[in-house]
């Protein structure tokens, strides 16, 4: 591995890791369902970047792109479904507060 490549890997890796942290932080801390989904999207961004990075470092940008594209599509569907769920919750609760959906416990 060339030195440049290592630096790129390191830089992008750290940045993606930071975004991962942001995403997880959001998932844990937020009380808004929609923002939780946005946090999910942020996480996906970081992961996408990781995959592209991996393809770039190994010279397999083709494969990585193929994976990333698939990933993006899947995540969109997930978000759509999740949004559907959130909207249904909203129609019940008239709220998107996370704390309103802690009925199932114990």
């Amino acid at each position: 591995m060339t030195n440049d490549m290592a630096v790129v890997l390191w830089l992008f890796g750290v940045a993606a890791a930071l975004v991962l942290i942001v995403g997880f932080y959001c998932l844990i801390a937020t009380v808004n369902l929609i923002r939780a989904l946005i946090g999910l999207e942020i996480l996906t961004k970081a992961v996408t970047l990781f995959i592209i990075l991996a393809g770039y470092v190994t010279g397999r940008t083709g494969l990585a792109q193929a994976l990333a594209i698939t990933l993006i599509i899947i995540e969109v569907v997930v978000v759509v479904v999740a949004v559907g769920v959130v909207l249904c919750v909203f129609s019940h609760n008239k709220s998107v507060d996370v704390r309103m959906i802690r009925n199932v416990k114990g």
């Binding site: 998932l27 844990i28 801390a29 996370v98 959906i101 009925n103």
Partner: protein, 608 residues
């Protein structure tokens, strides 16, 4: 007569018992069947007497064989049993008339006879125990048929004897193990340390059967409720015969007890205490049957003491006393039965002046009472003298106990005779008549034998008793009656008479002649406690058992609590803890997952 005939003493009563059950609905037939069976067995016993027979059948295995052995000793006991069985059945023919439980009484009586015969004949310890312990059932049945309250006494008797029999079972197991055989005639060993243990357990069985202290307390209780012939039959005669027979067997044949052995001392101590304590209780009784029953205990003491001396003279005395006691005591119980039957009560308060109403009964009573008190020339006198002599040789203290016992025996019988047969005729007894002939006959016969055995005491001694010990043991021993002792005895008896007269004078009635002892300063407390059963080993035992069972119950509950309390609670505690951790907040779950991931990574990457 072939070997098979040895089975007859067992089979005949059994068949008789079955017959009694079968014919019970035909009026009068049951008595006939019972009498027939006892007559047959008496005849068999007489024919078997003097023979030596062995018989064995395959049985349970493991050392348990159905081995019977007829020899001098067993033949003698067999004979005695048959005589008593016959006489008491005869007596019952009249006594039991009109009582609902008659059938069962005959049934049990015959089975008991069979069991006793079997136990006596058995030459295998287990077989003997089989018959021996089998008596428990008939004992229970015979007491329990006596009425509503009788079952309590029956239970008590059953528990005491049952426990002692179990002890004997243990003793037998130990003996069999030590001796390597179960055949009684082959066992002959000196009691070592384990052997002593075995001996003690066997002895418990033997003396409990004989009714010695401390296994006696069921007898007075049973006396109140059980049918009187039962008392005459089992505690007074058969069980004494059996118990002392076995005691003699273990201390003479199976274990070579010698004079220096501590077991001998133990036996003598038990004997002495039994004599004294029981007679003291007898002295104050105010019930015909109860008084007799205490004497039934007291007299055992002489036999145990006699055998315990380990001296030929003592042993002979003990065995002779055994047969004598069986005679006079059953006679006494039978007189009691007659009184009960005729006067309707046995309470001395309500009796009195029966001598004129029932002269024959009274005479029989006199003979038997004189005999038990050791008045010469009745049989009791001679056997007691032998025991005295043996006791004296082993220690003056034992002799003293024996003589003192004799004194109180005489005193109590004077009291009994006085209050029951002499004195004023109470109103209730106005119409009392003499008992029926069938009841009188056995009494008369027994009383006669008492006199015969007394006057011609050499006949039973040399024919029945001495052969039991065998020539070697007797070698060099002559049973000349010691004149000094006779004098002392006579003095003692006279003392008893004087005492009685004196007591009657100060208290004013025969019944209360012993009351001053009863209420004497120290004795008062002891008697009070005794009457409240403070000293009853049974009650003490039950208290101990109570403590044990309470403890056991607590342990049991504690164990149960481990399952029902501790485990369940612990599981629910954990469960609730875990459940309350699931708050429904997904952020928490994410945190768990991430922490879990960290842990997983730590483990996975540790090895790098």
């Amino acid at each position: 007569m072939n070997e098979f005939s040895i089975l007859l003493p067992i089979i005949i009563p059994l068949v008789g018992a079955m017959l009694v059950i079968i014919v019970r609905r035909l009026g009068g037939m049951k008595e006939g069947a019972a009498l027939l069976a006892t007559i047959f067995s008496l005849v068999t016993a007489i024919m078997l007497y003097g023979r030596e027979l062995n018989y064995s059948l395959p049985w349970a295995g493991f050392g348990m064989e159905f081995t019977l052995r007829l020899y001098h000793f067993s033949a003698f006991i067999l004979l005695a049993v048959s005589v008593f069985a016959f006489l008491i059945t005869l007596y019952c023919c009249s006594f039991m008339r009109g009582k609902s439980y008659g059938v069962w009484f005959y049934f049990y009586l015959l089975i008991s006879a069979a069991m006793v015969n079997g136990a006596v004949l058995a030459d295998n310890l287990i077989l003997m125990l089989f018959f021996w312990e089998g008596l428990l059932v008939t004992l229970f049945g015979m007491i329990a048929i006596g009425g509503k309250e009788a079952f309590k006494a029956a239970t008590k008797a059953f528990i005491i004897i049952g426990i002692c029999d179990l002890c004997m079972m243990f003793g037998i197991a130990l003996t069999g193990y030590l001796a390597g055989t179960m055949t009684i005639s082959k066992i002959s060993m000196s009691p070592g340390s384990l052997g002593s243990v075995a001996f003690i357990f066997l002895m418990i069985g033997a003396i409990s059967k004989a009714g010695s202290m401390p296994f006696h307390s069921w007898i007075p209780d049973a006396a109140v409720n059980a049918p009187l012939p039962f008392m005459a039959f089992l505690p007074a005669s058969l069980e004494k015969l059996l118990g002392i027979y076995f005691l003699a067997r273990i201390s003479l044949d199976m274990f070579k007890l010698d004079v220096n052995s501590w077991l001998s001392i133990l036996l003598m101590v038990i004997g002495s205490i039994t004599i004294l304590a029981a007679v003291m209780m007898a002295l104050i009784q105010k019930d015909y049957k109860k008084l007799l029953s205490y004497h039934a205990i007291s007299q055992v003491g002489y036999m145990v003491l006699g055998i315990g001396t380990c001296l030929p003279v003592g042993i002979v005395g003990g065995l002779f006393h055994m047969i004598n006691h069986a005679l006079y005591k059953s006679c006494l119980f039978l007189t009691g039965g007659s009184v009960e039957k005729q006067a309707g009560t046995t309470s001395l308060d309500k009796l009195g002046g029966l001598a004129l109403k029932m002269p024959i009964t009274f005479i029989c009573f006199l003979v038997a009472a004189a005999s038990i008190s050791g008045v010469p020339p009745f049989n009791g006198f001679f056997s007691k003298e032998l025991v005295y002599e043996g006791a004296l040789q082993r220690g003056a203290i034992f002799y003293l106990a024996a003589v003192l016992g004799s004194f109180f025996t005489a005193a109590s019988f004077l009291k009994l005779g006085h209050s029951a047969f002499l004195g004023k005729v109470s109103d209730a007894n106005k119409n009392v008549k003499e008992a029926a002939p069938a009841m009188l006959l056995p009494m008369i016969v027994i009383a006669l034998i008492c006199i015969l055995f007394g006057v011609y005491n050499h006949f039973p001694l040399s024919n029945f008793i001495k052969p039991i010990l065998g020539e070697q043991r007797l070698a060099g021993h002559e049973f000349a009656i010691n004149t000094t002792l006779i004098v002392i005895t006579v003095v003692v008896l006279t003392g008893a008479l004087l005492h009685h007269l004196f007591a009657v004078k100060i208290t004013g009635s025969g019944l209360k002649s012993a009351d001053y002892i009863r209420y004497a300063p120290v004795f008062r407390g002891i008697y009070n406690r005794a009457e409240n059963k403070y000293f009853d080993p049974y009650d003490i035992g039950l208290k101990i058992v109570n403590v044990i069972t309470k403890t056991a119950w607590r342990i049991d509950r504690a164990v149960d609590w481990i399952y029902e309390g501790l485990t369940v609670r612990a599981v629910y505690l954990f469960s609730n803890g875990i459940r309350s951790a699931h708050t429904g907040n997904y952020s928490l779950y994410i945190v768990w997952s991430l922490l879990g991931a960290v842990l997983v990574l730590i483990v996975i990457m540790k090895s790098v």
